[in-house]
Symmetry: C2
Subunit: 379 residues, 2 copies
């Protein structure tokens, strides 16, 4: 890895590993979960609160920040670290996923992606070169290559095959990766490649090995969490890892529910991000040690207990289920804030437990323990 960065594995448990990813803005204990700060802020939460609940690295969306306020503003204020007040490590996605999922009149060609901006309706183009330029201006510790993320044809993922559209997108992602590699010249920023290949193990192996040839600082799995089953996904991830350099960190993009994270960890993933904890929190779906609690349910109307009596987050330390329920039902923003804090603390705490379990050689026991509770709705 480049100067200022290092990745050290401290413990292994099967394919899983725990370690430390050093960046110019601090060290991340891995496996790590990155809260999503789309526009440079995690829904209603302050940097101090995020630190308090154990966040070590945040993810921001390149495309959204490019649209507003624009990377020049952020660069002028010291990059994401200076602009958003989170002085620890940042990762930015490439914008490709957002562009393809949010835009209309999308046209993907070899040069790049052309689309209508949802903000002003004007025509924009994102190319591997502009994706690098924007991310270098944003100044995150870790940047991502521009990839083409094509949804698999129905059933392809589960059958373990990739149709021609996914095959072509995987090949193009590899060509774009090469252009990103050339266009990227910021010395204090790591650049990760992205492995695609839909539901096909052989195509993912091929993509991983071809991407690794470009010698990135780390590697991500793209295009997963789109409907494939848990065990299929674990196989795809583990197979790709065999083609990737052992010494580089691995990132499973956009996933997922708690057990999805544990599956990824068991397959050797080091980094995760997902909007589930904040989005579910907003909708009153709260993760607890006893299962999933729907706080808007009438049974919590006068419940004096904290969301999870075993949780140490500010919402559980200071407030009752009845109060959080009342706030969320009334659309009070303090409700969203408390629910997001709680769910993020659950995720960050889960990763802490996973790191400890790996060190103790007990990751499988942790996964079995959680299998019966963590995703189960509390009736």
């Amino acid at each position: 890895m480049r100067a200022g960065f290092s990745f050290d594995v401290d413990a292994r448990d099967g394919l899983a590993r725990s370690g430390r990813l050093k960046t110019p803005h601090g060290t991340v204990e891995t496996p790590a979960f990155m809260p999503v700060a789309t526009y440079g802020a995690v829904r209603g939460l302050s940097p101090a609160e995020l630190r308090e609940i154990g966040a070590q690295i945040l993810l921001a969306n390149t495309y959204h920040l490019h649209e507003r306020p624009g990377e020049a503003v952020i660069e002028g204020l010291g990059g994401l670290h200076g602009f958003a007040g989170w002085t620890g490590p940042w990762l930015t996605d490439s914008g490709g996923f957002q562009v393809t999922s949010l835009s209309d009149r999308l046209s993907i060609e070899e040069e790049g992606v052309t689309f209508n901006s949802p903000l002003d309706g004007l025509r924009r183009q994102l190319t591997p070169e502009t994706a690098m330029k924007i991310q270098q201006a944003l100044g995150a510790d870790i940047a991502m290559v521009l990839d083409e993320c094509q949804p698999p044809e129905a059933g392809d993922l589960d059958r373990g095959v990739a149709g021609p559209r996914v095959e072509a997108a995987t090949a193009r992602t590899r060509r774009w990766a090469e252009r990103c590699r050339k266009a990227h010249d910021r010395k204090d920023q790591a650049l990760f490649g992205i492995v695609h290949g839909g539901g096909s193990e052989s195509l993912r192996r091929q993509s991983a090995s071809a991407t690794a040839e470009l010698d990135f600082d780390g590697y991500a799995h793209g295009g997963l969490g789109l409907g494939e089953g848990r065990s299929r996904r674990a196989d795809l991830v583990a197979a790709s890892h065999e083609e990737l350099p052992e010494a580089a960190p691995r990132y499973l993009m956009g996933l997922g529910r708690p057990l999805d994270l544990l599956d990824g960890i068991a397959a050797g993933v080091d980094l995760f991000d997902c909007v589930i904890p904040t989005r579910n929190g907003r909708h009153g779906v709260l993760f607890t040690s006893q299962g999933v609690l729907r706080i808007t349910n009438a049974r919590y109307r006068d419940d004096p207990e904290p969301i999870d009596p075993g949780c140490d987050c500010p919402a559980c330390r200071h407030h009752s289920r009845a109060y959080v329920r009342h706030l969320l039902r009334g659309g009070e923003s303090l409700g969203t804030r408390l629910a997001s804090l709680h769910n993020l603390r659950f995720y960050l705490g889960l990763l802490e437990r996973a790191r400890q379990a790996i060190a103790a050689g007990r990751l499988e026991a942790l996964r079995r323990d959680l299998e019966g509770t963590v995703d189960t709705p509390i009736p």
Copy 2:
């Protein structure tokens, strides 16, 4: 005043006074500003943050809490202090103002107010007796009588007269006050009467003197801030004070902008509440020592300065104008939170300065200093 309460004046400056209002849940330095926690939460802010910026007492809306979650839920969780996690003093309004301003098919009769609930459309009635019952269950340190707040006829306020509708409402408010006094029997809760009389000084004097006969723990001015000029209002407030017992705290309901508060203080008011700091904050209108700053203005796009370099609030300590602007423009709830924190800190700081000025006999100098800046838009 009743046991557990006391009000001591420490200093006077003209008609203004500073002192300490002791309640069962803590002492409030007066003159004081009460942030508005409509549903038991100040827009996105935690109790700890409110304490940090100097809040000493919060106001909650009886009517809104009656609708949701209902006073029985709050009472069962230890009243507002236990339910909402703000363990300092609370004041609840009577609900009368909300009912008359929010409801349709309103019918005001001697028995009480009958209206359609905006929540479920069902017919509800609020009487002096039920207003007391609800407020006693909510358990605030200070409760308010149910009043009938009739908007003055056009021009009445400025001409200094009251039309027959305001006259009748003032008389009814006095009759309701008597029923509230009889229905209220919670020993650890103070009860304040409300003076009405529209724009007529003689009617306000009459209302004040008749309300004072009922020996309330404190007195409020109702029906002001509805279009009368600053100097007319000051006259009306000062005239009423001459009829009220000197030893009781006085509260100017629902007002206002910073200079409205200083006017009230100069006329001898001890308590204020207003949604302006939080509502303006949400809309990007920020109070600073240099004047009113519209943060969404393009000139702040890349401004690295804090909202107000002289301010000690968390928004100013940690974030730039450019970042707060970005968040508010994008509808990010952290933006609302930071703007509300800042504006509330401005108000609470203004009251601190007023208390110091009264002690130093310099309130008029403070008012003159602020007259040219505090309400003036920064161009």
